[in-house]
């Protein structure tokens, strides 16, 4: 179940594009993370301080998938981001 708290990316991260693809720069940990298009889009959306539920709705609409599918994919992705220390707020999927 997705909690309703807003979820944000960790402050100080820089999202940039090269060759049309996304790269996330974490200067705190000196880590560069390569993201696919959807991953980059989710990181972008994290700037807007949406709840996971709102994020899933946006993704379902933009990628024309079911809400359930978007929720499941998002849950997995946010957990991965959290494990990598890239979220500002603990996410509990």
């Amino acid at each position: 179940m997705i909690i309703s708290d807003k979820v944000k990316r960790k402050p100080g991260l820089d999202l940039t594009q090269m060759d049309g693809e996304w790269i996330l720069l974490d200067a705190d940990l000196c880590i560069v993370t390569r993201l696919n298009e959807t991953g980059g889009r989710i990181i972008e959306l994290l700037d807007r301080e949406l709840t996971p539920g709102e994020l899933a709705e946006r993704l379902a609409s933009e990628y024309e998938i079911t809400l359930e599918q978007a929720q499941a994919d998002l849950k997995r992705y946010l957990s991965t981001l959290d494990e990598a220390g890239l979220l500002d707020k603990r996410y509990e999927g």
Partner: protein, 268 residues
């Protein structure tokens, strides 16, 4: 007390030391403003940083690990058994304590790398660099890949570096300056800078060929070739941004080469 104004690319370091071997080493390896026979070029763009150098510490223990600390009054302190660097956050004053010439060379590289990143001026990159027909080509790769070998095989072309290249990075262009931080190959000093035409990542091979590397891959591949000791995430972000500009501005290639000078036929 001996005062020497060292010239490194567009920076000036005004060194102060009372230790004779330190003054001799600096005079041997660095162009000195006002006394060097080679025309140094443009006027200094910025005031010199004062660097006070003392003798002390203990022998190198085999590890390049550097401890980073901040003093209560905000000074940045970098410590290895054979050297200590203390520098104020505005990079106007620095103090080095070094055990021997090996420590002095490493401490100077360390300080200079911190300085040019602080200025947002450029990067010190673990590589050799050679001028061919008025354009600079940089050779990098993992330890033992052949950076010095490529430099040696490039003779009689002018050498800008054999270990640590000084790379000026702007959105308008990338150029390389003569590096005093040499490993073994000394050469005539080259005044001014030379536009960087390509970066080649070295791989020893039976066959000689090149392979283009996409910007994004290049960015990640060159990032760990930068000489830097991170102490602050804002400074680290500067390195990441400078490296990204470098990857976007300059063509990167894998270079598969044998230990002879035929690889120059594949470089353009």
């Amino acid at each position: 007390m001996v005062e020497l104004k060292l010239v490194i690319a567009e920076q000036r370091l005004l060194t102060h030391t009372s230790v004779p071997w330190i003054a001799e080493w600096l005079q041997a390896f660095f162009p000195i403003d006002g006394t060097d026979p080679v025309e140094i070029g443009a006027d200094p763009l910025m005031p010199a940083m004062n660097v006070h150098i003392h003798e002390g510490g203990s022998p190198f223990e085999g590890s390049f690990h550097v401890e980073k600390n901040k003093s209560e009054d905000g000074l940045l302190i970098f410590t290895r058994p054979d050297y200590v660097i203390t520098v104020d956050p505005s990079f106007k004053e620095a103090e080095l304590t070094v055990y021997n010439s090996f420590a002095l060379k490493h401490a100077m590289m360390h300080l200079y790398s911190l300085y040019i990143v602080h200025l947002g001026w450029g990067l010190l990159i673990h590589s050799s660099c050679v001028i061919d027909q008025g354009r600079a080509f940089l050779f990098s790769g993992h330890s033992g890949a052949g950076k010095s070998t490529a430099a040696r095989l490039s003779s009689p072309r002018q050498l800008l570096s054999d270990e640590a290249s000084i790379v000026r990075i702007t959105a308008d262009g990338v150029s390389v300056f003569d590096s005093p931080f040499r490993s073994e190959l000394l050469s005539e000093r080259t005044p001014g800078s030379c536009s960087l035409a390509g970066i080649y990542l070295l791989n020893q091979s039976e066959q000689i060929y090149t392979q283009a590397i996409a910007d994004r891959e290049a960015f990640i591949r060159i990032l760990d070739k930068v000489f830097y000791w991170s102490y602050d995430s804002a400074e680290t972000m500067k390195i990441m941004k400078l490296t990204k500009i470098l990857a976007e501005q300059v063509a990167f290639h894998e270079l598969y080469f044998q230990k002879n000078n035929l690889f120059w036929e594949k470089i353009s």
